[in-house]
């Protein structure tokens, strides 16, 4: 129990003292995860919509695959990305290993199936409502995707936030491909793992509190920027 109070005190002290290292790793966490989220959304949302609209022979298989990949262990993704980006791997010449870019790649792979799956579930309901209208208007596939994505934007926000949550709290993959290098690839989660390893539970817990605070702030900010939860809009 005393460890928890120590953790709270450490978190408060880190924030009050405006710790420079803390700012650096927090901003890096945000940069990596938001970049990964942006890329994953651009891939996953149109993919989810297409899976609703297009009937092709492998559709069921793709949907089942996406649903299964939601449970992919991050450390496996980390290992695969490591082997790809290693100097001895196929993309070694790009020299991306142990950089924030490698961490973004790993996180995109982890959260794309999750976002695509939720998008697909959400838009399937919407499509059953819009089906007759959009068919009778003789819309193109591109127009249909656009309409579904725009009118389903609120549930898509949930999908994006779920992706954000999984990525910001992830440690297994980015530890392997980022290497937790001080001043280069250390982020909040890998720093927490490091402090736990040192037995400095108060510091680890303090960083954990900062991570939770960050996630809450980002969630609130996205709701505010997109104007949801307000009268007359949804």
């Amino acid at each position: 129990m005393s460890d928890i109070w120590e953790g709270l005190r450490a978190a408060a002290w880190l924030l009050i003292s405006f710790d420079a290292d803390l700012w650096e790793i927090t901003l890096r966490s945000l940069r990596v995860t938001l970049t990964a989220l942006l890329i994953a959304c651009v891939i996953a949302m149109p993919l989810g919509a297409l899976l609703v609209l297009r009937r092709f022979w492998a559709r069921r298989f793709v949907i089942a695959l996406l649903n299964s990949l939601m449970g992919l262990p991050p450390v496996v993704v980390g290992l695969i990305v490591y082997l790809m980006l290693s100097r001895s791997g196929p993309f070694g010449v790009l020299n991306l290993l142990f950089t924030p870019t490698a961490m973004v790649i790993a996180q995109v792979i982890i959260i794309t199936p999750l976002i695509a799956s939720i998008t697909h579930q959400a838009l399937r309901e919407l499509w059953s409502e819009y089906h007759d209208l959009l068919i009778s208007l003789n819309t193109s596939i591109f127009q249909r995707v656009r309409t579904l994505l725009w009118d389903g934007r609120r549930t898509l926000l949930t999908a994006a936030l779920a992706g954000f949550g999984r990525a910001i709290g992830e440690v297994g993959a980015i530890m392997v491909v980022g290497g937790n290098i001080d001043n280069a690839t250390r982020v909040l989660t890998t720093a927490i793992a490091l402090e736990t390893g040192k037995g400095d539970f108060a510091m680890a817990l303090g960083l954990g509190m900062v991570l939770i605070g960050l996630a809450v702030t980002v969630n609130l900010a996205i709701h505010w920027l997109t104007g949801t939860e307000r009268a007359g809009r949804w």
């Binding site: 001895s88 070694g92 142990f98 937790n180 290098i181 037995g199 400095d200 539970f201």
Partner: protein
Amino acid sequence: MKRSIFASLAAVFLAAPAFADDMKLAVTTSFHNSGLSDILLPALTEDTGIEVQLLVVGTGQALRLGEAGDVDAILVHSRAAEEAFVEAGYSTARREIMYNDFILVGPLADPAQAGQATSIRDALWAISGGTAPFVSRGDDSGTHKRELNLWDTAGMNPVNADWYRATGSGMGAALNTAAGMGAYILTDRASWLNFGNKDGLMVIFEGDEALFNQYAYLKVSPELHDHVQAMTAARLEAWLVSDRAAELIDGYEIDGQKLFTFNAVR
């Protein structure tokens, strides 16, 4: 307001880090946990301008990173594995830098009476009675290899015993596990002194020559990987065996205890 938020977000995304005279060095968790790297690296940068990016991993993973050419040099402590690494051509030479020692840590009550042993061999025999669990790193690290070697030398193979718990984790995590279980564990002195969660644990046995722990520096050979920073890695080696490094290594203390002894051959 919204515009300024987007602008500051954009600034966060576009701020790309740039590195000049830098190299990647894989070190073992036990070395990093000792805190010595926090003393050596700033002094190194001050003297030579080299910025070292540390990758803190187990010896097994450090050797793999070196084999793949993903780091420029490694600093590890597992002689047999290092010699195999040089033998296979991944490095041209193994340079001994310094040593510290391993210690046997266990519960305050010492239920196996291992503290009364006169050698590490006897201490391990006492623990093999099974009165308390023994936590092993189980992660192919230098400490793990040494531990297996000590059991082997003592003529025992406890890996399948029910009191033997292989955790497959780093030094700090394994110490946390031992603290939680009230178990015995082999650790290096540096990690122990820097460890923050010593509750219920104490040093049970120390001082046997068989517990000597040699650290060596190995540059990754540019023969196999022409992209490695061979020049920078060589400059780091020259600095590590310099008088300045010797002074810092020998002078490093935690709670008044000296941790490392410099023994590079110059």
